[in-house]
């Protein structure tokens, strides 16, 4: 049963879908090609609670009818209505069916191996995770190295559990399989593709 969408509560998406999504994509690409680099996205958006502006901008830019979304929000949540209305994406119940996953509550997040990690012949058929964090900073934190990073970069992502980092460590050894992650906070985001080694 698909819940009805209340249009009176609906906040708008991009004011200019063509240029705003182009700009957001280049920000995401910049983050993905330079793991640890913090970029801004969706500054002008009025995103539905609990999605932050960057998460909302990523969804508006990358999601459509071809990309099943899994999220930890209740199925009748206002934010899901917003995503279904603006992106037209199917919302799935099982993380292993999702092309994208939106995680708003990191404590209750499923283990990383519950998501699609691809297979040896098609490592690209994996889930991209959008994880909302309470803080992103490059001042200190984890030490990242790998493709896209000249020597090393540092990134601090607040509010992630120890179990998450253990899962990530296991997935790193499975390369080229694994999930790619976008961390978001307010109107900023940073990426952690599967290639990157995380220490500390």
């Amino acid at each position: 049963m698909v819940a009805t969408i209340d249009l009176n509560q609906m906040t708008p998406g991009f004011s200019d879908p063509v240029f705003n999504s182009q700009e957001t994509f280049r920000a995401i690409l910049g983050a993905m090609a330079h793991p640890g680099r913090i970029v801004t996205a969706g500054s002008a958006l009025d995103s539905p609670h609990p999605l932050n502006r960057a998460s909302a901008a990523v969804c508006l830019t990358l999601l459509d009818f071809e990309t099943p979304l899994w999220t930890d929000l209740d199925s009748d949540h206002m934010a899901i209505g917003w995503l279904r209305f603006h992106c037209g994406c199917p919302v799935v119940q099982n993380p292993s069916e999702a092309t994208f996953a939106m995680i708003t509550n990191n404590d209750a997040m499923p283990s990383l191996n519950k998501f699609k990690t691809g297979n040896d012949e098609c490592p690209e058929s994996s889930t991209t995770l959008i994880i909302q964090t309470s803080g992103l900073s490059s001042m200190d934190g984890k030490r990242l190295s790998g493709p896209g990073i000249e020597t090393f970069s540092t990134l601090k992502m607040e509010g992630l559990t120890e179990r998450f980092w253990q899962d990530r460590q296991i997935q790193f050894t499975m390369f080229p399989l694994g999930v790619d992650i976008l961390f978001t906070c307010e109107n900023t985001l940073a990426a952690l593709p599967r290639t990157v080694k995380v220490e500390g």
Binding site: F19, L29, P123, E124, P147, G148, P193, T195
Partner: protein, 318 residues
């Protein structure tokens, strides 16, 4: 000089007019989203060829349909686009693609490598070092490096999955046993990030070392073959070789006849029917910049005279 190199402002009335009736940069938004998702996967798995739903473009396969689709998904109003074909900015393919984006996206185009934010290329990497923040988009005819060794696509997929590249080394070894050296001069296979063997597209092997730890993002688009792949900045790219037969690039015994450069890739130009030849830089922007900076090759004067007497200003018409 410095003033000229300053990036043009892309705002205001000097921006080219966008043709009516098309979406920005020609492709529809759903196609762009699909290609953008593919590009992100390609960046996350360096050297792996990600399949995508390649669209028909208003030019035939083989003319850069893959590169154009990648560029169309990347480009925004603030970008400055450079397009080269075999190093030159003034060949048909390069001129047409530049005009295509100037008409459908209204973006500024340039021939200067330093000014460009996106460089779409066929068969060369510019001599000027690319910087971090620039994106180089390669047009790729055949993305699969193992295609001519193992024609079964299913089998090739398996070989990539298992990192089973022995057959590629056998191919290179056969060259050595037959010719005494690795004879491949372009599209020379590379190993990306110690994992995937990748075709660098038909660039001369002279350009292969530029790919290693390049500060710019490299994206490869193959339209007919429906594949996109990528090398992120600062990523290890190693040309395949043997300890006793190390990878080597071409060298010339001459310098560029126009700018005197002794370290750029040279094109051989036949001058007349008596067999006289001229060697000039393949990268026209690099050559022009050196000439403007006062560098001269041994034939610069005679060519200038020839151009004046025949009334042509074009550099490669000689």
């Amino acid at each position: 000089m410095k003033k000229q190199l300053k990036r043009q402002s892309n705002t205001g009335k000097d921006r080219p007019r966008i043709m009516a009736g098309y979406n920005f940069a020609y492709l529809d938004e759903q196609t762009k989203r699909m290609i953008r998702r593919t590009i992100l996967k390609a960046v996350a798995i360096p050297g792996y060829q990600v399949p995508f739903g390649s669209r028909e473009m208003p030019l035939p396969y083989g003319w850069g349909t893959g590169g154009i689709q990648v560029t169309a998904s990347l480009i925004g109003p603030e970008d400055t686009l450079k397009v080269i074909d075999q190093g030159a900015d003034d060949t048909t393919n390069a001129v047409s693609i530049r005009r295509f984006f100037s008409r459908t996206a209204g973006v500024h185009t340039t021939t200067r490598t330093r000014e460009a934010t996106i460089i779409q290329t066929r068969h060369r990497i510019p001599e000027t070092h690319l910087r971090n923040g620039q994106i180089i988009v390669y047009q790729v005819p055949i993305p699969e490096p193992l295609r001519f060794i193992e024609p079964r696509a299913k089998e090739v997929l398996r070989m990539h999955a298992l990192k089973e590249y022995g057959i590629m080394f056998v191919k290179l070894y056969e060259d050595i046993s037959r010719y005494g050296r690795i004879a491949k001069a372009f599209d020379y296979p590379v190993l990306v990030n110690d994992r995937y063997v990748m075709s660098p597209s038909p660039i001369p092997k002279f350009d292969n070392p530029k790919m290693d730890c390049m500060p710019a993002l490299q994206i490869f688009g193959a339209g007919r073959e429906k594949r996109i792949y990528s090398v992120p900045p600062y990523t290890k790219v190693k040309s395949l070789d043997f300890e006793d037969y190390p990878f080597e690039v071409e060298r010339w015994s001459r310098c560029c006849a126009l700018c005197g450069s002794d370290n750029s890739y040279l094109d051989e130009i036949i001058m007349d029917d008596r067999g006289s030849k001229l060697f000039v830089c393949s990268d026209t922007d690099h050559c022009n910049e050196r000439v403007a900076g006062g560098y001269k090759g041994n034939q610069a004067e005679s060519i200038e005279e020839a151009q004046i007497s025949t009334g042509t200003g074009a550099r490669k018409c000689a």
